[in-house]
Amino acid sequence: MTTAVEDLHLVGVTKRFGEATAVADLSLDVPAGSFFALLGPSGCGKTTTLRMVAGLELPSSGRILLGERDITRRPPYRRNVNTVFQSYALFPHLDIHDNVAFGLRRRGIRAVDAPVREMLELVELGGFARRRPAQLSGGQQQRVALARALINRPDVLLLDEPLGALDLKLRRQMQLELKRIQTEVGITFIHVTHDQEEALTMADTVAVMNGGRIEQLGSPIDVYEGPQTAFVANFLGQANLYPGVTAGAGAEATGVAITIADATVTVPVSALAGRSGRVVVGVRPEKVRVVDPSAEHDLPANRLQGTIAEVAFVGVSTQYVIALPSGARLAAFEQNLDPREVGRPGEPVALGWEPRHTFILDADEDLRAGLLDQTPVPPADPVAAPLSGSAPGAR
């Protein structure tokens, strides 16, 4: 725990498999001791990136540095990086003790009993040393895989969808567990996942990957609250996205008015980041308040009218799909403070959100990027055409 952990740098890394480019000119700096998540859909290149850091794939071009050392071409057994494999890949012929001791023994360390015991305690598997992997549950195997990698005190620990095979409840528990262990050992964790909740829960820094590139990188809050592309907005949580046009020329103190179809909303100047004319306006469903039209005066500044199209009561919240007069749809999640006031389909409602909760994307963004349902949208004329919001509930 006292060894100086080093930063990891990827410099212009590209990986091609025949014609296909899995990772395209990727540059990345992972500070020592951070919990870094590579988040993206399957096939986005995140696992290939991980395997290149592990040494299991050779980059087609680019360099991988650990501190000052170039480890690009070093074989996996000669770099101080360990992996927790998706399938765990425990040695079936060895018991838990020998599985965990494997890395130490390969490096010629004889006194393995004490560190192995200590490591098994850390992952709460103290009594399982003499069991075989096949005799353990999925969650226990996962922790053995973690212990087997961590015991080597690597500079970087790579986790390839480590919780993918676990059921939801166990996954939640292991998320907190992993975070605790990472804080305790202080090793850099790079965590590959397609599960946005997992990434947001555990990581200090999230890199959202798509098509072999990083779409956006930042803290979970920054990336979630301020998505810079439609892909990030849709892949990370849900988003209501509408084409719009900035109204008027000058910036006002209160913000800029943007016309979306038959309504106008206000956006802080900072959110526009210098854009004007055609833009994409976005708001997260949980930011939108849904009330009876008679209570409209209680709503935040960006107000719209609509009719409830769908309602789903999910316990902690009620999820609405609201049909706007233009025909566009808007998703809204209301916290269930008073569940008896849940609306019914067909009822008119008023909705509103704070201007500062609005985010702005470039006008040429594909509004459906990052959605599982990839039906094409008609080209949207921001004023004349009906609002083409990204369909909520698609994820």
Binding site: F85, H93, G103, R106, R148
Partner: protein, 281 residues
């Protein structure tokens, strides 16, 4: 009621086969091995008896052939293993799209007759053949020939039983999760260490069954010794065959058969205890 009897009914054909064609002949073989000659010549016939001296006499007369059988079969298994393991490893891990073709090539010789193949080796190893001529040109042969030497017998045995070594080893190598090998590399194991600590232990069941499938039939084989070896290279199979068919000394032949079976059984059990894993195959 019905459920309880079903498994036994399913076993019936197999048990009947085993009873008629193994257990009864075995009992008859045991009885024959203890028979007493009725006269000085084998033509005089034999009477039922409990002549245990048949065993000691047979062993005393033919122990060299016994030893030779196990030595030849052991060497053939060992050499076969040295050829089969790298071959199976290549097919399982490196052959890619050639994998099926290579497996077919391994099995292909089995489609022609065992006798035919062994006779072909007679030609291959003859002193006029290119193999022996090349070896002689390099002065690598102590007595200028291969045919009619133990080397030819061992080579024939190795060749004939090689597919039975390759296939089980291939099967167990193919079952190894590639991620487990990658995990070993990730955990500081060099290629040699991966072979020793992960691949070999996980392939052990295949090696075990391959060696059994080679050693047992090779030890009892008499075709290779007869076609490729000299008169000094006779194995126990040749002795039993000639005792039964030419000399017609049935008790001696039966006693040899019995001792051979028991020895094989003991050797195999020792071997399984030594290198065996919990699950065979």
């Amino acid at each position: 009621m019905r459920r309880r009897s079903t498994p036994y009914l399913l076993l019936l054909p197999g048990m009947a086969w085993l009873g008629f064609f193994f257990l009864i002949p075995l009992a008859s073989l045991l009885a024959t091995s203890l028979q007493r000659p009725l006269g000085p010549s084998t033509e005089d016939g034999f009477a039922p008896a409990l002549e245990f001296t048949n065993y000691s006499a047979a062993l005393l007369a033919y122990w060299p052939q016994f030893l030779k059988s196990f030595a030849f079969a052991g060497l053939a298994s060992l050499i076969g293993l040295l050829i089969a393991f790298p071959l199976a490893y290549f097919i399982a891990f490196r052959a890619g799209r050639w994998r099926m073709l290579m497996l077919v090539l391994v099995v292909l010789p089995l489609f022609s007759s065992f006798l035919l193949r062994t006779n072909a080796w007679k030609t291959l190893l003859s002193s006029e053949g290119f193999i022996v001529e090349t070896l002689n040109a390099l002065a690598l042969l102590p007595d200028d020939r291969v045919l009619n030497t133990p080397i030819a017998v061992i080579a024939g045995l190795t060749y004939n039983f090689l597919p039975f070594l390759v296939l089980p080893i291939y099967a167990s190598l193919d079952r190894i999760d590639k991620a487990v090998v990658e995990a070993a590399a990730d955990l500081y194991a060099t290629a040699a260490a991966r072979l020793r600590t992960v691949i070999l232990p996980l392939a052990a069941p295949g090696v075990l069954s391959g060696v059994l499938l080679t050693f047992i039939p090779a030890a009892g084989d008499y075709i290779n010794a007869q076609l490729l070896g000299s008169i000094q290279d006779k194995m126990i199979g040749n002795v039993i065959q000639s005792q039964f068919i030419i000399v017609r000394d049935y008790p001696t032949a039966s006693a040899l058969s019995f001792m051979f079976m028991v020895t094989i059984l003991v050797l195999v059990l020792l071997y399984i205890r030594r290198v065996g894993t919990r699950e065979l195959v």
